[in-house]
Structure formats: C-alpha cells, structure tokens
C-alpha cells in the first residue's frame, strides 16, 4: 500500500499555526536558556582558573555534577522536584505563569552552563600566562584582569566550540516536551495526533531544525572568521 502524502495538512487548519508557535517557543526557550548558560559558563569557567582553591572547588563541583547527569533527568528535577521546595507565594506565581517553561529554561541553562564552562576554561587556558602577568604588573587586580583582559580574549578564542555548544542547547530544547513545553518537537507530535500525518509533521519539524542550525552555523562561521586571533586559534572539538 503506497503511502499517500498530504502535505496540505501542514498549512491548512491549525497545523501551520502550531508549527509557528512551536518554533517561537523553541527560540524563546533556547535564547533565554542560552543567556543563563553563558552567564554561568563564563563565571564558572573563569572561577576554575583562579588561584583560590575554594572558588575553584565550588566551580568544579557545579560543573562536574551538572554536566554528568542527563538533561532529561534535570528537566524532571526542575519541573517536578524544585517547585516543592519553594515558598508558597513564589510557587503559586510560578504555576500561574508557565512553570514548565521556566523549569525547562533553568534545566537547559544550568546544564549547558556547566558544559559552556569547560569551553570557556579551555579558552582561558589557551591564553599564555604572560598576558595575565602583564595585566597584573600594570596594576589590575585579578578580578579586573579577568574582566578586562582574559575573558574577552578567551571568548574570542573559544568561539568555535562555544557555537557548537550553543547549537547543542538549541537542539536540546526539544527535551522540554517531556514536561509539556509546547516547543517545536511537541507541536509536530500534536499535529500528528490530530491529523494522523506523522511523516509530513516530522518532516516539517526536521526541516525547520535543519534550517535553524544551518543558518546559525553559517552566520557564526562568518563571525568566527572576523573575531579569530591569528596565532592563537584554539582548535575546538
């Protein structure tokens, strides 16, 4: 029995709207998660290279614990486990304002923050120590040296692996469907349950992800080219 394609279901009725809503949610979730991940990643990546053991230890514990546990487990943990610990007032507010989205965002941000941390740390460690010593010799405190000299250079150096991690974040946003976040993959399932057109729905979702990832990768390739520091290019995995 030949499979009959009904591509029209993608744009007739609710399907098209759902796809767009899913796409919007995916982008929102990923963008906000990325901001959190970048902040945590830069902070903890830098903390892992400073001379003070307590700070290093703290950052290491964060990174090692959070990145060695699957994201799916974190999703359940943040959505089902964490709200129970919050005070009633915050909990109620959260439930009224899309708890699943925030849980998904935190799960993504904290998990990828730990992974981003390794990338940033690699970037910082690729910088010759002499640069840091020069900054301190000029009178900057360690914190200032990091903020004004080390981290900006590290960011430029780690652009390729950081882009890779960012794209991973975007793709991992799909795991949020398990906690009922209506992102893109969730919507392809939704279209399928209403129209029974699994092939068309999955194809649409796949193509959209490909376009997103390809687009971002292409843009970032240009950006990497402009920001690369000749002679100090960190080859990322």
């Amino acid at each position: 029995m030949r499979y009959e394609f009904h591509w029209a279901v993608l744009w007739s009725g609710q399907s098209g709207r759902w796809l767009l809503q899913g796409l919007a949610t995916t982008v929102e979730l990923s963008a906000l998660g990325w901001v959190l991940a970048a902040a945590l990643g830069i902070a903890s990546g830098a903390m892992r290279t400073v001379p003070w053991r307590p700070l290093r230890a703290l950052a290491t514990v964060y990174v090692e614990f959070f990145r060695n546990v699957p994201l799916l487990v974190w999703m359940f943990f943040w959505y089902f486990g964490v709200p129970q610990l919050l005070p009633e007032v915050i909990r109620e507010w959260l439930f009224r304002h899309g708890a699943e989205f925030w849980a998904g965002m935190f799960a993504l941000g904290v998990y990828h923050g730990a992974r981003m941390s390794e990338v940033i740390r690699g970037g910082i460690q690729a910088i010759p120590k002499t640069l840091f010593e020069a900054a301190v010799a000029m009178g900057l405190t360690t914190f200032q040296a990091y903020r004004l000299v080390i981290v900006p250079i590290a960011l430029r150096l780690s652009l390729p692996p950081a882009t890779n991690e960012s794209l991973n974040l975007l793709k991992n946003s799909s795991v949020a469907l398990t906690i009922s976040v209506a992102e893109l993959t969730f919507q392809t399932r939704q279209i399928e349950t209403y129209t029974a057109r699994a092939l068309e729905a999955l194809t649409a979702g796949t193509v959209i992800y490909l376009v997103l990832c390809v687009g971002i990768a292409a843009i970032m390739a240009r950006v990497e080219h402009r920001f690369a520091i000749p002679g100090l290019i960190a080859r990322g995995g």
Partner: protein, 284 residues
C-alpha cells in the same frame, strides 16, 4: 547549501517507500508466535505498575484470558503475549506502523478515529470528568474557563476541552502519571480524563481522601480495543474472544476482580451497562 542538500537527500530517501508485504495480522501472529499488545503503564486499573513493580491490569487480563485463547483456538497453536507501553499520543502510530497488533488500553471508540483504525466491541463504558483537590472551586466543565487544566496529549478529553472551552489553559502531558503529578503539585487546578481512570488514579494515590472527581460526564466514552484497518479476520477473532468472555461470565469475573467492592478501583457496573454488554453478544 550542503545542509540543504542533506535535507533533500533525507526527504528523497523517505519518498521512495519500500513495497509493502501484504500480510494479515493473523498470518503475522501465526508466523512469529507473538501477539504484541499496546497498553498503558500508568492507568490503573486498566494497565499499571503495582507496588511489586509488576505490569498488571483489567485490559491486560482481558487480553491474556479472553483474547489469547480465542486466537490460539483459531490458529491451532500456542502464542505468547508481549506488552508494550502506549499512550494516547502514540497508540495509533504504534498500531499503524506494526509495532503492536492490538491496542488494549483505555481508548475511546470515536467516528474520527475509525478512519484510522478499527475497533472491537465496546468493553467498558464511562464518560469524561475532572479530578480536583478536595474543596476546589471547580465542580464541572462549567467552571474550567480560564483555569489551568491538564490532559493527555492526543486524548479525546483534550480535544473536547480545546473546542468547548477555548479559554481554559490546557496543558498537555505525554501520559497520565505526568499529568497527575502536575495536579498533585498544584501546577494545574484540574485534570480531565475518563471517570474510571480518575477513579483508578484516586484509589492509587498516596492519600486518596485528598482528591475528588467532579462534574457530570461531559462526554460519552465507550472503550474498544483497536486493530489495524482492513483486518477483518483478526477483528472477528478479537470480537469472538470478547463475546465468549461476556457470555461465559469470565468478563464479569474480571470486572469483579478489578472494579468490584473489593477490587482495586470500586466502580459498580450499572444494570444499563451490563445489559448493553450482554446485548453485544450476537448469536452463535
């Protein structure tokens, strides 16, 4: 550019559908000796995991004790039953993609669904209601506008709420346990599903007295077992099995076990429903 080609490459592969091997389900079961059944893992008492971590339930018992013997009689050989988890969102694809041969869970027989699958006779009758925390302000479908309601993705309940109460904030979960947990924690204010499933959830909850089932049935939900379309031989055997069970009293024995006063989820069989079940048994 390269990646665009990659996408097209994948689509092209998919468009060239492999030729089908036209084999009926009975032939397949005869050949492999296995009947694969899709059932629930979190819907007591139809299909669920009990405290000893065993997969049990009313639907599972019906398959093992009524359907399996009927198939064995028809084929003249012994077969094994293999269970797979299915949910409202996945059961039809699982069936049509041959992952399972039979869906024996809590699936409502509806006309739109009959376009994708075929149903057996009705083996259980219930209707949709709401599960809420005791003392909640929600007393039925009339009160859910603007409230957060959980449902299973792909269920008839989700569709009806979406159509009838568009202002309700519907949160769709992949399966019942996830939805119930959201209710338990206050993420949503009500969970809608068929009355009997809500009764099962309530009975198995850590503190059943905290929950109540509210609202008149806002829909009619007759459960049927689903099979692939155009598979009338298999469907006939399935129906024979069910009819034998009802006729011989096996069905009512199982009903008593799971839904009787001492059962997992007490849910008395109304005389009306009993009559309906009996009348489905056509003469031999």
């Amino acid at each position: 550019m390269r990646q665009l080609l990659a996408a097209l490459f994948a689509l092209g592969f998919v468009a060239v559908a492999a030729p089908a091997l036209a084999e009926t389900t009975l032939e397949k079961i005869s050949g492999t000796g296995v009947l694969t059944v899709g059932t629930r893992r979190g819907s007591p008492p139809f299909g669920f995991v009990n405290k000893s971590n065993e997969w049990v339930g009313f639907s599972i018992d019906l398959v093992e004790q009524a359907i399996k013997p009927a198939i064995e009689r028809k084929l003249g050989k012994a077969i094994k039953v293999e269970l797979k988890e299915s949910t409202p969102a996945t059961r039809i694809p699982l069936l049509t993609s041959n992952q399972v041969d039979l869906i024996a869970e809590t699936m409502t027989d509806t006309r739109p669904r009959r376009e994708s699958v075929d149903f057996s006779l009705t083996y259980f009758v219930t209707g949709a209601q709401f599960l809420v925390k005791k003392g909640s302000a929600i007393h039925g479908i009339q009160d859910v506008a603007g409230r957060r309601v959980a449902a299973q993705q792909g269920s008839t309940n989700a569709k009806i709420i979406r159509e009838r109460v568009p202002t309700a904030e519907l949160r769709e979960f992949p399966d019942q346990p996830a939805a119930f947990q959201a209710l338990a924690q206050g993420q949503v204010q009500a969970y809608t599903n068929d009355g009997i499933q809500l009764a099962g959830l309530k009975a198995k909850a850590p503190r059943p007295a905290e929950w109540e089932i509210v609202g008149d049935f806002y829909s009619y939900e007759p459960y049927g077992m689903a099979v692939r379309k155009n598979d009338s031989d298999f469907r006939a055997v399935l129906n024979n099995g069910l009819m034998e069970a009802i006729e011989s009293g096996l069905y009512f024995g199982l009903y008593e076990k799971w839904f009787g006063p001492k059962g997992e989820v007490p849910y008395p069989l109304t005389p009306e429903n009993k009559r309906f079940l009996l009348m489905q048994v056509v003469p031999k």
